[in-house]
Amino acid sequence: MDQKTQLSLYETMVLSRTFEEAILHDYHADKTPQWDIGAGLIPGEMHLSAGQEPVAAGVCAHLNASDAITATHRPHHLAIAHGMDLKLLAAEIYGRETGLGHGRGGHMHLFDPATHFSCSGIIAEGYPPALGQAFSFKARNNGAIAVAVTGEGAANQGAFHESLNLAALWNLPVVFVVEDNDWAISVPRRASTAVASNAKRAEGYGMPGERVEDNSVEAVYEAAGKAVERARHGGGPSLIEVHTLRLWGHFEGDAQAYRNDMEGIAERDPIPRYAKELVSAGVLSDEMIASIAADAKSSVDAAIAFAKSSPIPSGSDVSKYVFA
């Protein structure tokens, strides 16, 4: 892999993590003394993707803004890797009138026409709309593809099955991605999924499937490259499952008492790990690490400043936007 790509993958992951660390901070900052999920600058459920950046960076490196992504309740890494405007994203998370959805959506409901990005809080139900985006791309023969993402827990929902079958049958330009972070809230993979790899299931739809066992951005990049290429050139859908890592809780506030895989979790963080790899390969230096971090911080700071200084929606507009 060329160094430019490596650096770019690293930068993408850092940007996503930097953004989420800022959100993490502000989310918890003003929920004290009695922690209240509905209070503060950022209220509501907050599902952060830290640890899963390799999936987003590795897949989205092959995409451009005319390709669609449908993501999950845990969408930030994908939104950022796909190039969503951080200001619009942040403003939506802070519930502001300047946000992507003018504050109506929130962090599970990001809709960005500029990057054909959307997500949903209902697990696996982002798969079907991706088929439709792919269908329209195919009908217009514009070379774009759709990427549909879901978790390993969600892969046991009916929508997963129906979508894979229909996409295969109609030879739609879709890449299905399963983020296997071992957990669906508190339920471990072995208690949710009767098979070791969802790539195995792809065979049941006559579709290529690949499981990436290592949470490495380069491994994801390789697998996604083939799948995206296939979709873009009429080869139809494929599935990629990545064994990734949920570094933090299911949502913020999750005490994770049920979790038995926390030992040494910091060492499994894919970002420092990749930094180390790139440093020893001579691609990255300590100075570059610092400057990438600084760039990320300044973008994120600007986005969050924009969000915080934006107006709060007026309650009297509550019925605006129900119908077009």
Binding site: R104, H109, P129, F323
Partner: protein, 346 residues
């Protein structure tokens, strides 16, 4: 006539079509006009739609625009939503409304909410058409109307034609609308050769494309003594009952709602202001649905408009039974309506 009635396009033509053919004609004209319109669903291709809602479209437009799907309602209705998000205008058929339970998440959590959640930045222009209604012993899972369920959840327009001319005009309006529109057609008004049909399922339909505006009720019959608010097949039972009662000197006004979302509240209010009596005829389940909402229109405005208690002729809160004797005890028949008019006038 006190109410503004939509100019009825059927006045200007003598050509008669069944409701099914009128619907298909509307779809076909729009598909010719706009190549972003396409049709998908189970058996909509070679079969032409189980209730003839798509007959001939495959032959006319080919398999690239008229597509049979697997029995995967979540996937293909979601596909329609995704295509609409990208600017296409899908018409997707849910074969029976009774099957909504396998795909409702796509409908009400996605199709219906995307526009709002996106703050108006993403439109979802599609038509979800679906067959409703009983009367031919198809049992508890194939005979429901369920429009109350769809109308309760925000973000979907809901239209329910009762005759061929409206069926065509509402279909065209639905296709052109930038919102998701649920289009519910009653099997008993389609004019199918294999099912008992209401005589009015064949009626005059103009040849050109036209819209019937979504959200305007029609006065199917003007009268001064009792307001009968209804829709779909029941409009015809209400008209039959009204004719019968006219002989007894009772003058019924029949309001055909045509659209539940938006609901033409002022049409109901104006009529009840005139008559002082409200009878609601609804083939959906009685409680927590349409009939309560119609009542609320009056109660929120002026409950004392009602000179007599409101009466509902609806499906009592029972699953639709199979045996004909039981099913017709549950359905809003002309007999039940006539009896109710007598009671309300007593």
């Amino acid at each position: 006539m006190a109410l503004t009635q939509t100019p009825n396009p059927s006045m200007t033509t003598s050509r008669k079509l069944t409701t099914a053919k009128a619907m298909v004609e509307g779809i076909s004209q729009e598909m010719e006009r706009d190549d972003s319109v396409f049709v998908l669903g189970e058996d909509v291709g070679a079969y032409g739609g189980i209730f003839s809602s798509t007959t001939g479209l495959l032959e006319q437009f080919g398999p690239g625009r008229v597509m049979d799907t697997p029995i995967s309602e979540t996937a293909f209705i979601g596909l329609a939503t995704g295509a609409a998000v990208e600017g296409m205008r899908p018409i997707v058929e849910l074969m029976f409304v009774d099957f909504f339970g396998v795909c409702m998440d796509q409908i009400y959590n996605h199709m219906a909410k995307i526009h709002y959640e996106s703050g108006g930045n993403v439109k979802v222009p599609l038509v979800l058409m679906t067959a409703v209604g009983g009367g031919y012993s198809d049992g508890a899972q194939h005979s429901q109307c369920l429009w109350g369920t769809f109308a309760h959840l925000p973000g979907l327009k809901v239209v329910v034609p009762s005759n061929p001319a409206d069926a065509k005009g509402l279909m065209i309006a639905a296709i052109r609308d930038d919102n998701p529109v649920v289009y519910m057609f009653h099997k008993g008004i389609m004019g199918l050769p294999w099912m008992a049909k209401n005589p009015r399922s064949l009626g005059p339909v103009p040849e050109e494309a036209y819209e019937v505006p979504i959200g305007k009720a029609a006065v199917a019959r003007s009268g001064s003594d009792v307001t009968i608010v209804t829709l779909s097949l029941s409009v015809h039972h209400a008209l039959d009952a009204a004719d019968e009662m006219a002989k007894a000197g009772v003058d019924c006004e029949v309001i055909d709602l045509r659209s539940l979302v938006p609901l033409d509240r002022s049409a109901v209010l104006e009529s009840v202001t005139k008559t002082g009596r409200l009878l609601i005829v609804d083939e959906d389940y009685q409680s927590f649905g349409l009939s309560g909402e119609i009542t609320a229109i009056i109660a929120e405005s002026d409950p004392r408009l009602l000179r007599a208690p409101m009466i509902r002729v609806a499906v009592p809160d029972v699953p639709i039974p199979y045996a004909r004797s039981l099913e017709y005890a549950a359905l809003p028949t002309t007999e039940r309506i006539t009896a109710a008019i007598k009671r309300i006038m007593a």
